[in-house]
Symmetry: D3
Subunit: 293 residues, 6 copies
Amino acid sequence: MYFHRQELQHKSKPSKPDAIFARRLQEVLGGQYGEITVALQYGFQAWNSHLPGKYRDLLFGIGAEEMGHVEMLAVMIAQLLEKAPIPASEDAAKSDPVLGAVMGGMDVQHAIVAGAGARAVDSNGNPWQGSYITSSGNLLADFTANANAEMQGRVQVARLYHMTDDHGVRDLLSFLLARDTMHQNQWIRAAEELRAEGFEELPVPSNFPISKEERSVSYQYINFSDGQAASEGTWASGPTPDGHGQFSYVAEPPKGVPMPPATQPDGRFYGTTAKSNTAEKIGGAIKDAVEKK
Amino acid sequence: MYFHRQELQHKSKPSKPDAIFARRLQEVLGGQYGEITVALQYGFQAWNSHLPGKYRDLLFGIGAEEMGHVEMLAVMIAQLLEKAPIPASEDAAKSDPVLGAVMGGMDVQHAIVAGAGARAVDSNGNPWQGSYITSSGNLLADFTANANAEMQGRVQVARLYHMTDDHGVRDLLSFLLARDTMHQNQWIRAAEELRAEGFEELPVPSNFPISKEERSVSYQYINFSDGQAASEGTWASGPTPDGHGQFSYVAEPPKGVPMPPATQPDGRFYGTTAKSNTAEKIGGAIKDAVEKK
Amino acid sequence: MYFHRQELQHKSKPSKPDAIFARRLQEVLGGQYGEITVALQYGFQAWNSHLPGKYRDLLFGIGAEEMGHVEMLAVMIAQLLEKAPIPASEDAAKSDPVLGAVMGGMDVQHAIVAGAGARAVDSNGNPWQGSYITSSGNLLADFTANANAEMQGRVQVARLYHMTDDHGVRDLLSFLLARDTMHQNQWIRAAEELRAEGFEELPVPSNFPISKEERSVSYQYINFSDGQAASEGTWASGPTPDGHGQFSYVAEPPKGVPMPPATQPDGRFYGTTAKSNTAEKIGGAIKDAVEKK
Amino acid sequence: MYFHRQELQHKSKPSKPDAIFARRLQEVLGGQYGEITVALQYGFQAWNSHLPGKYRDLLFGIGAEEMGHVEMLAVMIAQLLEKAPIPASEDAAKSDPVLGAVMGGMDVQHAIVAGAGARAVDSNGNPWQGSYITSSGNLLADFTANANAEMQGRVQVARLYHMTDDHGVRDLLSFLLARDTMHQNQWIRAAEELRAEGFEELPVPSNFPISKEERSVSYQYINFSDGQAASEGTWASGPTPDGHGQFSYVAEPPKGVPMPPATQPDGRFYGTTAKSNTAEKIGGAIKDAVEKK
Amino acid sequence: MYFHRQELQHKSKPSKPDAIFARRLQEVLGGQYGEITVALQYGFQAWNSHLPGKYRDLLFGIGAEEMGHVEMLAVMIAQLLEKAPIPASEDAAKSDPVLGAVMGGMDVQHAIVAGAGARAVDSNGNPWQGSYITSSGNLLADFTANANAEMQGRVQVARLYHMTDDHGVRDLLSFLLARDTMHQNQWIRAAEELRAEGFEELPVPSNFPISKEERSVSYQYINFSDGQAASEGTWASGPTPDGHGQFSYVAEPPKGVPMPPATQPDGRFYGTTAKSNTAEKIGGAIKDAVEKK
Amino acid sequence: MYFHRQELQHKSKPSKPDAIFARRLQEVLGGQYGEITVALQYGFQAWNSHLPGKYRDLLFGIGAEEMGHVEMLAVMIAQLLEKAPIPASEDAAKSDPVLGAVMGGMDVQHAIVAGAGARAVDSNGNPWQGSYITSSGNLLADFTANANAEMQGRVQVARLYHMTDDHGVRDLLSFLLARDTMHQNQWIRAAEELRAEGFEELPVPSNFPISKEERSVSYQYINFSDGQAASEGTWASGPTPDGHGQFSYVAEPPKGVPMPPATQPDGRFYGTTAKSNTAEKIGGAIKDAVEKK
């Protein structure tokens, strides 16, 4: 169950309206790595969890916080739009470059669709979608996904920080940056703990039977580009992070196997095949196939 | 530049047709974490790279290999479909449960749209999309995204392995599993190397000025759910992975700040506001606003 | 701020596994009119609200409940999938029609992607998307959207009720049906109250200046199909619900105005125009345009 | 069958070109609540109708009109773009702020993709999609959806009216506003008539057996936020619109039920479970599961 | 303007219900090459047309017919679903393989969402979308798109023909096949006529100034795969269809140009660059950049 | 297998940065007819090919070249963005119209998400998607799709040419224009060769049995609009391109057949039917249906 309190976790009030920045801020609300993504991602991981206890509790505890971040950003965007100008005609824009600049940079659906309100979209107006979420049931994979989400998210917030000089907005961003710092650290630590406690190991999934894997290529760097620099990395020699092998470097991919023969599906799929090259098409063709049917 | 050789990296030939499995295999071809995703993700990261040398070379080298994996899977799917039955009527399905089972489990667009061919979609028929890709320019974030992609992908291939007993298909999957083992190890190692060489550090991005972040909450676990188990994790006390702080546990979120007042946009957005409660609507209203315009 | 409690509003436990029904239940979790939609729709309407007080409080109060419904459904789906069979080969399906039936009816991504977990998608596997949400800032329009969402949702739950005989599942559905009954009643009443209190009126938006509307056709039923039955409705004669006019019936649309002339854009758009019919294309054409540039 | 006449229902000719407004006008052509939506929504509701006579006739009659509105808007957009400037380089924009303003505000795909033509997209360039349509077979629900669509649409047209001062464009918008006035009135009346004639009743669907619903919560406002203002509404006490109950107000949600135990799916899904915490992973694990298979 | 007549162009009545085929038929209603696509594609091409007269008249004339095809298919699907079984539980499917087969093969949203009605989606339930449409303003390109659409569509209808033995359905399909025959012939002829009359020529667009094109590679087959068979085609030697050149065959791509140096964007984008390798990250970094800001 | 060489097929280096043009160039990288589309389209057609030899070799040979075009465009976009300004506040835009113009015209996700890098999206920021691809197995249809793709693509590149005066960018565009010239010529010739060699014929698919098609309407132009100009075209009289008939012109569509009766689905779908008009809804209704269940 979720409960709502009519307070914000942190102050979220701009010093002045800025319809252009309101659009940009949509990225961290409704973008691929925005707050809706993490709020629902942690929720689904918790609901799907096969392991009660501290890991699931962690997911529940953070997931609800992120719903509050969704709210803080939505409220901020609505305030940035509060005094947004009504977009005007091209003539008006031409005679008033200031107005033109604002009109060009804002999200017109903020005005036309939402009447100066926030939306569940990214900074280009693409609707948020469920495919942004990752929840596989394997917690080592999923915590890595979470660490990535918090990294991408923090990079975006840091970029946005430099795109405004509004003290109120920067104040909120500095808070979000700090929480992303925490969440990065936390997911990395949680992934380590999963391994330390023996729940998961590399490679994910670690309990897939080793005998079923083509082990001869499990630790080979096979080089499909013509550069040689990658051979210098620690991914090209030395022990592997999973502790089960040694990296090796294969400068040129070994010869492959021939393409299998082209497929020959049923004639009633009307694909182009060797057999389709018959003398008479209209009227006489594929009688057999059709009579079968 | 890309060059194509009419060979496959590994044998990709099923022992027998299986239209149902062909549909499932689409997941690792055209799904969120399928081969199209990694092929293009590594490509875009390389093209956008700001750092010549071994890291970019690594991206080029693996990206091209993944294009070959796209090909192996597409060719496998086409062969699994080669003898696929033409889907029949409901009556036929009713009188032949065997046929009915196949029809229910296959992707009907394999037959109707592609004529027994592979498609750029996932196992539910959702088209692959560009938003599956991550390329931020920050390599520590992006290599973490890559590690996650290879983990999710390997989990999916492992699951698929148990969904077939076809020797030819399993042979290909065992090869893909091994390459995913390699690529997981490799991205984890590459992320470590970026840190060891001082290019990036935690938290990402590490060179955002610390004074601009609200440090008081940078290492707090703030608990928004009512469980206490998360306090037991190493993410709730002790040193943080970034080396700059100590985790602390806040059992209950501190009091927030009041909601800012409701916004009052221009009347010409026709939102519901206190002012919209006027005696006379049709005909007399918002004259001022309109006359201004 | 949102807080989570590790309880469910109502019991959500199936009597037995049912992977097929798990797929169907996704509709009311992640479909167009599923619980994610209403949870976020009421949230955005509240965050964008221009009117503090009982209407916004209503939106907050219900929105948080709906997040709990998302959770109940996700948890139910995970349990329905708990003992889901691993999808097997086509041969297995053929030799075991029971297995074949289950495999045909289940969502294969439940197995391959989520490892027997719930997902943010509908019953056909389409990801939930932000464009399912409506939040215009005009509360009479939005409450009507809400009433519709609760109606569509309750119709779907009622249909699902007949698609299972599992007591645990039906128990949850009977609870959701009751809450949808409440929410339908509530949004209809809230829309009435907005009108009674003079905040909004028909037609929405009611304070658009009447003189700017082409009033001659504001209450005409203009019949663009060849049936005459629609003339019998109370929408074809008598007073209009907005209280400002009388319906009339126009059996045949009046003559229209001629199509405006075809457009003639700049030659550098390379559209097909009368001018593009020149004697000499390659080499000589549109010199002027190009020389300008 | 549909027939086309090469006339427009109303004059649709701008006084002057305006590429910026052309983009905005796309919202009511190809947006969530644009004319394509209502044209196809009324069509699908008619084709799916289970009730011949005046209601279906109404859907046919209006649906065809809306196709003509699609056409009027497309023709208008093409004319607004007719003299659109070819977007120029950044340098040109910098030296000519007027040009820059136009370039920033226009839809670049209007130029690049459509060569100064209209497109089946909204004002942010998102393609129209079939999920905007509602057609459930239950006419009370669907007519409520229709009323909402006409309300949202009219709000958007009203907003657009203030974003231009072109007489030709405003003339078309004033016509569309009037038709939306009609259609709002009409769907509201039609919904009332369905109830008056006994076809449908609240709550939708009204013939779901009452004994199957958890009636104890059918009329309760359960407050999941911390405000008390919602208790003042007529949705919190008094008779319900469906005529079958009395609203009541529950200030605090009753205690819930415990979360069900975490699920324990088959080991071959490779989720993280208590069992996955085994000493030996690679090579030895889940032998049983694999040997079964 | 569009007018509707409550008749169908051709009989559209199945002999018996078939929920499985109803799903498949959605492909040619709401798929990439379904009737909604061509109806709106021809509409947009006409509305955007720069050339009055026979070509635009052709687009109007066929576009309206295709709207009637949308209707015929929707009505057929609703009838195929009329006696569709209510999907039942997994247990029921297991004990009744016949029922299981039907449940596996049908579109569950037909039941849950549309109540046995047609939907604006394809055979996998993907919503129709505006990006299926092509309308560039260049009629030679667009008529080629139209010819392709009619070819793909006819292939799909032909495949569907073999997937049913219902006389009523086949009767409708035979009609659609014939109309697709006509429309293929027609668009090919119309494209020829555009060329014959000098409106357009190959290559499209033909009036782009030849001097601006890198003519040295305008007619070269450059072989990026290792096969040599393509050299045998008439696309590898001899005169080109545009009449302006001779094909030539380049067996191996010439040496390329070096990759340009990696980009070095502003430090405030926090990408990984050579400069990001500084000793001290947290606290001291990118002071300059930040102080500038 | 694909191999990568760290060279570009042609020089791809702008003379100066241009963030606005970078956005526009995304259209031919990640748009409906961009290079990702053709690269993967030719790939899937080859992998699905039923015919070994020159046609498949052609698909392989060109497909790999197009992957290199993806790369050239991505690299160009990254360079155009290299010195892109960090988007600034609305105030900054207002005081500096030059900056405002750039900010309005650029893709903000280039800055926020990709850190001055290219993305897999079109010029409006819509992600590339798998449904842009066509691969039906019928090569005459698919080569027509390919010809169309190259035509649309070349039209777009030609338009872009006029939107920049940067010599480096124009140099790349002139190269792409030439390759599109080649590819248009090539696909048209390949389609002719398929016909000349008897593999395929018009109408596609040509071996569908003629007796199964409703031949009476196979060559009729049926006019559903009120113009008469289309009767003047060679598609309205004379021999048909498939060589099997004569076009005829039907000025007015013949009378249709009556709409089939409205469907009457099972009561448990809760649609509105004649039967739903019962006296008593809540409590007493559809007992039979429910008791059955």
